[in-house]
């Protein structure tokens, strides 16, 4: 109170001063100076005069400069202030390819990421924090800690050009890597900048590996102010999947749905699932009425003693040794998922002078796992340093990032079903726990061979996947003569992954007959030696930058694994390879690639108006055939900074206007290391990757009939070579406009691009007649990709420290396969009469439905289809498929032919969105800052797995409550087809019944921060202190057709739902 009183009676005073640019020390004109009473701007000599009061704060703001707050004291006057260039300014220097350049000089499509978006991210990776923020960068994740259940999320830059691997190339402090984790494991506070090179003209300097786009990450490298800076960030997050949980049937209601299905099929419901459900009903198939569902009070019929007849689960245990368990009403989602706690923290220490600098950064991330017994943990350390000698002519430096991750992921059951799927499909009558406290499971008649998912996670708990990653480089810059710099860098990228696989014996459902433990190690080492020579020249109004370089990349990959069976104990400490007493097997392999490149770059700028850049790269790769190892990738761009033209001088509201245009070619070599070779291998006893537990694919055979022991073995072909294999290349045209109005209050950019990818590398399936190991990589298809990106920001600063910024972005891309060799065509949707050519490669090919037959007569009058009239409803309530076409005797398509068959399939949309959009609102007022971010997609067609779960019943699984509202003769309004256990209409076929509009908008992040005042911070010996709370994935708006609660839970029930999270965090600077 006293303070307020003092303030309100504070004495008014006039303050004068001068504002200069901190770097150039030249006066700054037009700087806004604000007090409570007044707002003035500086004159041409940087001077100002303003009325204020003691206790107030003066705010100095200027476009492109960091705002400055100056508290007014009694002695405040004759101020001399330096304003510092803010990082997001046009003059920002960014690295775009072996060289840094000013952002204003950029002529390609480059998104410079606003780092505030990743700063307070609680995700496991800075990449996940970028979701929706960068136009043209599309990220699709699941709810697991890494966004891809242990692997990388789907990352696409400007859609998909190739038909194969779509992962972008990462350049981390100059070291190229395709390993997503190298980026994911960086602490966000150590990142200095992230650039996304989207078009060929920007990325072609990276040549053969740039066609999926390039993400350049530069980490911080010390300070220059002779001070030591300490930054500490920490946060704690609570994640829950509850808001996204799907509704499923209870034990009782599941019985009702199964009864209805059996009655519809004309089969006796008491004989359908009679080990679990029996029914008290009127027995009248034409007017069925259900009085009561009787649930078998017990689950399970088996133990190791032969049961004695008569066995009846409705009667119960019949001898003391039988392990029958009471039936339950389990919510398997509640059982499998638990709230997860995510703790993250990092400590960055940096310092230095104009000659030397260093950064040390230590981070910790621990996600306790949304699914029982899963976990993700990471430790990482970063050490960057640099120094110089000989009058700064020689610079030395290194960047090093070491990270160690350890994770236990979601698993599958003994038969291969993923646990997230089981949490939706396992019958609720199965108890989570038996009465003796051990895990319950499906046992006995009426149940499937699926396991209790929680038990499976429990048995999987020792299956850690550990990975050690080291990436970094050491470099020397040598200024040979003025402006001529020779740079050499040796970079390395090392991954050592060790996966432990303990297949333990459980005690419910199908159990393994023996346990086993295996370890699989994969080592991957890439060394990159880069040499460049660069020369900068300035004459008159011209600037010329030249660069030439070479790069040699050597990658070696090896695996080594061993497995032992039969362990006496199932303890983590006992599970060592030598402790098993059963069969022992081992495996190992080696592979690698070499890449040698020469490249050059020339930039010319005239009067900051006209910009031109030319790059070229020649790559040689060991991955290609002996006939075509080399590829050349040129690019040319032009830029015109229109606002610097004389005729623009008077137009004050335009602060920036730049037109960019570029063409370029990039390549792709993301195929197997040995794709050009024909390979035969002595596969003694390998099994199929698809069914590793069951399907031998090896070459050993018991020719002597001895039944056991070592067998004679031979060789099998596993791949057919192609010595003509060559680069896949993408030609791209990009036209862009950058603009800024009203002193950069409104900024934005628009890019249009068109890219044509040709000679796409693909390994098409072949006619089975060719046999085993006959698949080969070929250069085949061509794909066109067109699109645009648009980003618009509005920045507002008002009096009293209220500022806000709104940024909206949208991007669109559409691909079209333009040609496809006949031998490649079968790899894509479609058939002999419906070629994917002319369609997106993500097209869905299937049947159209048109409602439901309301009567048997309707079904009889409709185009014929085997099985549709089966059951007591004789076609009523069945899905009506549209008769589109038939074929004539030559196999050519005709019009509708009165029958539904494979010829009636058509294109149903694409699984990737037409438009992705995001909106970001940042507000700050005094000490508070608020940030709201949401993003979404439109024009996406997706498989709605929950609709399937709500439409179709199976005697062995659970399903959704939608089944209770399915079509019956009494409930004809329903859009859900009549329940059936027979499915003689084949309603599981791909159709637009459940490939529906999957557009959505998600509120991804709301964050509120409070910055403690300098006074309080300094009392705590800090430079600044901020605390914040945030919520992620708060709600979704989605298409009505899409019934899954989480619109990102598309295509598969095996995905983790993306959880809702709440975070509290702290940022401190010392």
């Amino acid at each position: 109170m006293a303070f307020l009183v003092t303030a309100s009676f504070a004495q008014q005073k006039k303050v004068t001063g001068v504002v200069t640019d901190k770097k150039t020390h030249s006066p700054l004109a037009g700087v806004t100076v604000q007090s409570k009473k007044q707002m003035v701007t500086t004159d041409t000599s940087g001077r100002f005069s303003i009325t204020t009061a003691v206790g107030e704060t003066l705010v100095f703001s200027y476009v492109g400069m960091k705002a400055l707050n100056v508290p007014v004291t009694a002695s405040t006057d004759n101020l001399t202030l330096d304003l510092e260039v803010s990082e997001s300014d046009l003059t920002q220097v960014v690295v775009t390819g072996y060289k840094s350049e000013r952002k204003v000089d950029l002529t390609g499509a480059v998104s410079v990421v606003n780092l505030s978006t990743v700063k307070n991210s609680t995700t496991s990776s800075p990449m996940l924090a970028l979701q929706g923020h960068v136009p043209g960068l599309y990220i699709q994740t699941d709810g697991s800690p890494t966004g891809g259940n242990g692997g990388a999320p789907t990352i696409l830059i400007r859609g998909v050009n190739t038909l194969g691997n779509t992962n972008p190339l990462y350049i981390i402090d100059g070291v190229p890597t395709t390993r997503y984790e190298n980026f994911a494991n960086l602490n966000t506070s150590s990142i200095s900048s992230i650039q996304v090179l989207k078009d060929a003209s920007a990325s072609s300097i990276y040549g053969s590996r740039a066609s999926n786009g390039v993400i350049i990450v530069t980490t911080k490298n010390g300070a220059t102010d002779n001070k030591t800076h300490i930054q500490f960030n920490t946060s704690i997050t609570r994640q829950t999947e509850k808001p996204w949980q799907e509704d499923l049937l209870s034990s009782y209601d599941r019985g009702v749905a199964l009864w209805r299905a059996a009655v519809n099929d004309g089969t006796d419901p008491n004989n359908t699932v009679n080990q679990i459900y029996r029914y008290d009903w009127n027995g009248d198939y034409s007017k069925p009425a259900l009085n009561k569902v009787l649930i078998a009070p017990f689950v399970g019929a088996t133990n190791n003693n032969a049961p004695q007849p008569p066995y009846d689960p409705f009667v119960g245990p019949y001898s003391g040794t039988d392990s029958l368990e009471p039936a339950a009403n389990t919510n398997w989602q509640d059982a499998l998922y638990k709230p997860a706690t995510v703790i993250s923290g990092d400590l960055a220490i940096s310092g230095g002078s104009s000659k030397s600098g260093f950064l040390m950064d230590f981070g910790y991330y621990d996600n306790s796992g949304l699914i029982e017994f899963t976990r993700y943990r990471r430790y990482n350390a970063k050490i960057n340093s640099h120094t110089s000698a000989f009058n700064d002519k020689l610079k030395f430096g290194e960047n090093l990032e070491i990270s160690r991750t350890s994770q236990v992921n979601s698993t599958t059951d003994v038969g291969g079903a993923p646990t997230p799927e089981l949490s939706l499909t396992l019958p609720p009558t199965i108890p989570l726990y038996k009465t003796d406290g051990t895990y319950g499971g499906p046992r006995g008649a009426g149940y499937s061979d699926r396991n209790n998912p929680v038990d499976m996670q429990y048995l999987n708990r020792f299956n850690t996947r550990g990975q050690l990653l080291v990436i970094g480089n050491a470099y020397i810059d040598f200024e040979i003569i003025k402006s001529l710099v020779f740079h050499t860098s040796v970079g390395f990228d090392y991954s050592d992954a060790l996966a432990k696989n303990a297949a333990l014996i459980g005690d419910e459902g199908p159990v393994r007959s023996f346990n086993s433990f295996g370890q699989q190690q994969a080592k991957d080492f890439t060394i990159t030696w880069t040499n460049t020579l660069s020369y900068n020249l300035q004459f008159g109004k011209s600037r010329l930058n030249l660069l030439a370089g070479t790069e040699a990349i050597k990658n070696d990959f090896s695996t080594f694994g061993a497995n032992t069976t039969v362990f006496a104990l199932q303890d983590q400490s006992y599970l060592q390879l030598s402790a098993g007493v059963g069969a022992q097997t081992n495996n190992g392999s080696a592979s690698g690639f070499r890449l040698f490149s020469q490249f050059g770059k020339a930039f010319y700028g005239y009067a900051d108006k006209y910009l031109a850049s030319f790059t070229i790269r020649r790559d040689g790769s060991s991955r290609f055939g002996t006939n075509n190892p080399y590829g050349v990738f040129p690019a040319f761009t032009l830029g015109w900074r229109i606002n610097n033209e004389d005729f623009f001088k008077g137009i004050n509201f335009v602060s920036n206007l730049k037109l960019r245009a570029g063409i370029g070619t990039v390549g792709n070599q993301e195929i197997g290391n040995l794709s050009s070779f024909t390979i035969l291998q002595p596969n003694y006893g390998t099994s199929s990757p698809q069914f590793p537990l069951w399907l031998n694919t090896g070459s050993a055979y018991d020719i002597y009939g001895v039944n056991t022991g070592s067998l004679p073995s031979g060789f099998v072909q596993i791949q057919k070579g192609n010595p003509d294999l060559k680069w896949e290349s993408t030609k791209e045209t990009n036209i862009g406009l950058d603009f800024g109005f009203l002193n950069e209050t409104i900024t934005g950019s628009f890019d249009y691009f068109s890219r044509k990818t040709s000679d796409i590398l693909i390994q098409p399936p072949v006619a089975a007649a060719l046999g085993e190991g006959q698949q080969q990589y070929v250069n085949g298809a061509n794909v066109d990709n067109k699109g645009w990106e648009f980003v618009l920001s509005y920045n507002h600063k008002s009096a009293r420290g209220f500022t806000y910024a709104i940024t909206g972005s949208a991007s669109h891309w559409a691909d079209k396969v333009t040609s496809l060799p006949d031998n490649v065509r079968p790899a894509y949707p479609g058939d002999a009469n419906h070629s994917i050519v002319g369609h997106s490669r993500f097209s869905i090919f299937g049947y159209e439905t048109n409602g439901i037959f309301q009567s048997s007569q309707e079904a009889m009058d409709a185009p014929t289809q085997p099985g549709v009239l089966d059951g007591t409803l004789a076609g009523a309530g069945r899905l009506r498929y549209v008769d589109i076409a038939g074929v004539d005797s030559l196999g050519h398509l005709t019009g509708p032919d009165g029958k539904i068959d494979a010829n009636d399939q058509t294109w149903l949309g694409t699984t990737l969105p037409k438009i992705e959009f995001g909106i970001n609102i940042d507000v700050s007022y005094r000490n508070f800052d608020l940030s709201i971010f949401g993003s979404g997609v439109t024009g996406k067609t997706g498989f709605d797995p929950i609709k399937q779960l709500n439409s179709f019943v199976q005697a062995r699984s659970n399903f959704g409550p939608g089944t209770l509202n399915a079509w019956t003769p009494e409930n004809t309004g329903s859009s859900t087809p009549a329940l059936s256990l027979l499915n003689h209409n084949g309603e599981d076929r791909i159709s637009n019944y459940y490939y529906v509009n999957a557009s959505y908008f998600k509120l991804r992040n709301v964050s509120l921060g409070y910055n403690f005042s300098k006074n309080i911070a300094s009392k705590l010996k800090m430079e600044s202190l901020r605390i914040y709370v945030s919520g992620q994935n708060l709600f979704a708006i989605k298409s009505k057709d899409f019934t899954a609660k989480d619109p990102e839970r598309v295509n598969s029930l095996a995905l983790w739902p993306v959880p809702t999270s709440y975070t509290i965090g702290l940022n401190a600077n010392f």
Partner: protein, 585 residues
Amino acid sequence: MKYNSIKILLAAVIFFSMGCKKFLDYKPQGALSASDLTTPAAADGLATAAYAGIANDWWDAPITSMWEYSSIRSDDAYKGGGDIGDQQQMDKYEQFYLVNSSNNGAGDFGFPGTWIRAYGAISRINNALRALHNLTDDEFPERTSRIGEMHFLRGHMYFLLKVMFRNIPWFDETLTNDEILQVSNTMSNDELWDKIAGDFQAAIDSLPETQPGQPGRANQLSAKAYLAKVRLYQAYTQDDNYTVVGIDQAKIQEVISLTNDVINSGQYALNSDFAYNFLDGHDNSPESVFAIQYSINDGTTIGGRLSMSTSLNYFAGAPQYGCCAFHVPSQNLVNAFQTDKNGLPNFDHFNDVALKDADLTANGVTMDPRIDHTIGIQGHPFKYDPLIPYDHSWERLAGVYGGFGTMKELQLASCPCFKKLGPFYGTSVNMDVIRYDDVLLMNAEAQIQSTSGNLQTALNEINQIRTRAAASTELLKKTDGTFPSNYKIDIYKPGVNIPVWDKATAFKALQWERRMEFAMESPRFFDLVRWGIAEPTLNAFFAVEKTRHPFLSSAHFTHGTHEYFPIPQEQITFTNGLYKQNPGY
């Protein structure tokens, strides 16, 4: 300083212009190229891999046991499993509502995968043949034999494809990949049979009569037996509507001559007990003419080259098992084991009454003893173990498929040949492709169908089979030493227990005998199609069986379509429509 600068600059320039061919050289590790496979050992290895190739399967798309494609499509068995939708592709096979191959509903599961695997095996065989052709007998003394073996294996794979799909692309090792892609499936039915027969003839021409110590290899006699099988199928001339329009006497004579060679060789004989054909410890018995060799604990990844094509067929609720109860004997099959007062099949009235547990006892209706080798019946010893009586509680969906259990392809969990792999089970017991009982019955069938055949020989051969069946009861006893069923089986005695042994009677007896002898082993559907009686037999079967098992209420067999599977749609697509789809699909 200046001097150093120049040196570095020079070095940089040299580096920039340096060649890099050598740096880019990278050769595959731990692998071979085709040119490495020129040695006898390598060619022999390719031949061994070809043997492995005919056995690399499991139930998703078998190329060994044909239970999914024959047994459940015939009157012998139901699909079984957890419900009608469990592996629904098989329900479509069983009830004949498969719309077409792209609506298989299970990806490559089922016949499309079998097509792929069979041609995969053929490619291994052709690779081996190419390598063998490049050697001489001097370099590799076993070369001729190996060539014969490869022809045998190729004939075996094509035979399997032929009986499933009828119209298949046929080619041999002389074609390049480009040429193979030009081969359509439009070769005439007879020519195709001749091609398959040609492989077996080539095998006969180059194989030794026996392969001592190497029972896994084909020999001349096994090739003769298989060629007889091919000619027997070919002899029933089919028109384009799959109607049998005649018996090719030349082919019939060939069957007689070939099977006579095998029978007269003295190398094979019936086992003393029928049970040995289905039990561990009797692999490569005298009755086994050619078998797929399985092994256990042999250092392979899954713990053995195990027989996995029938691994779905263990009982859901039985001790030590747990899944998945597929391949359930039909009521019709159970009834078919019924014998009349003379111990002969109850040809005309076997299916009048559905035999239940109470009928199948020591005092019940008279039965052929082979029922207790073939079918699990309530309270009867399971798999020759009187301590483990078969129990209904083992059945998985009793209300739909319940009543009985399959047995021949199963092994006891206590068997050293048995391994549990996840929810499935494998055994190392061999799977016979041709047995001596089959050779005898092929000879008998040919004698009956021949215009100049010897019906007496046929009678003797059928009676040999029945005599052995009658003698195969020792292992069927319960713990108290009594038999679980009322066995009564006799040989055919014309004029005594049958009025006359004429051609019609003999053929009826032959058809019945084949069903009893090979019940649940899967030749049944292929036999019915060969004889041209699939449509009447199956629709008559459905008409009665659906009153006992309502899930069959919609089942119906269409003549001219359902005799064969469709050509997998993807294969038609892969060849741009070069392959012609079978009629009706």
